[in-house]
Symmetry: C2
Subunit: 194 residues, 2 copies
């Protein structure tokens, strides 16, 4: 890793997702690591931080998360648009070399049994909070965030710094048909202390 990765206080972790980026979901089970893309991930609570993510039952990642009870959410960058698209288009079941083919390199954070994708701007280590009914009825999973980190070049002192960071570090917002929008310009309203 060349980027400086710093821990994010857990009560600021919701800010890593609050702008609605497309994310990567990673999991480890039975000696296998996998990563998928997901546009439907959302903050759910501030402290302790929680989030929701929709995991279709056709995904290999879902079964791994149900088995291990842990996973990671990470925020890919503009520089990773092709990687993100590739991870959202192929299943590990169809292509066992999926990660290598997409150019994914993984790293670990001590104490967290989840693979993390190099080059993202933020990472959230998560513990599944089992909710069998909504998992079954809506493919909807609830988790508590147990660790958070960010690339200090684009998230510092509890805030994204997209407006001063390199544009390649901006987040991705997927729509459909291979089209993403990057995070754009900052707009400040009012006088709140952040």
């Amino acid at each position: 890793m060349t980027a400086p990765i710093l821990a994010v206080p857990l009560d600021r972790a919701y800010r890593l997702l609050n702008h609605g980026p497309t994310v990567l979901v990673s999991a480890r089970h039975g000696g296998v690591d996998n990563v998928m893309a997901a546009a439907w991930c959302c903050a759910l609570d501030f402290s302790p931080p929680k989030l929701t993510v929709v995991l279709d039952r056709v995904t290999a990642t879902r079964g791994m998360i149900e088995a291990s009870g842990v996973f990671a959410i990470q925020v890919p960058t503009v520089a990773q648009a092709a990687l993100t698209k590739a991870l959202g288009s192929t299943s590990l079941g169809e292509d066992p070399a999926k990660l290598a083919r997409a150019g994914v390199r993984l790293f670990d954070q001590p104490g967290h049994a989840v693979p993390l994708v190099e080059g993202c701007s933020a990472w959230l280590s998560c513990r599944l909070l089992p909710e069998p009914h909504i998992q079954d009825a809506h493919d909807l999973f609830v988790a508590e965030v147990t660790g958070a980190w960010a690339d200090a070049r684009v998230f510092a002192e509890g805030r994204w710094t997209f407006e001063t960071a390199d544009p390649s570090l901006r987040s991705l917002h997927y729509v459909a048909g291979g089209r993403f929008y990057a995070t754009g310009e900052a707009i400040d309203v009012g006088e709140d202390a952040p």
Copy 2:
């Protein structure tokens, strides 16, 4: 209304939320209309389209939605950043003139008993799918989208057209402390038919 508002086919409605915008949540009950801002709203399914939204129990809007069973989600624009911030900072309980003070004007779509906010770029009329456990445990609400419309200047033929529309029509992505990011530049990857 000066903008041309067109119906969006329900199987394309998820695209109105897929890029993760901050939304406005509106409700009508007992002769009262209300609108709040929410950063935690997310698509949940394609067809029929469903979504999730987090509604804190302190909000007046939540009680109205629990009572009426219907609400609307709408996508505010860069031009509405101050309005959106105001609607997220004040409760109807504290300020009965909240909507007027924020500059909100409402309109209706025939057949949908929900107030819609003028000037947004997209509107989704929703029917609550009661899930008492997650509403109570996580403040998380699931709904089916029963009608969708968009401003044809920025969403046409099932696609956002941010890259050619006026920048004031871009969506807002709230972080914290009065800071939003606007939706930014388009990034196209791959050859999928959208």
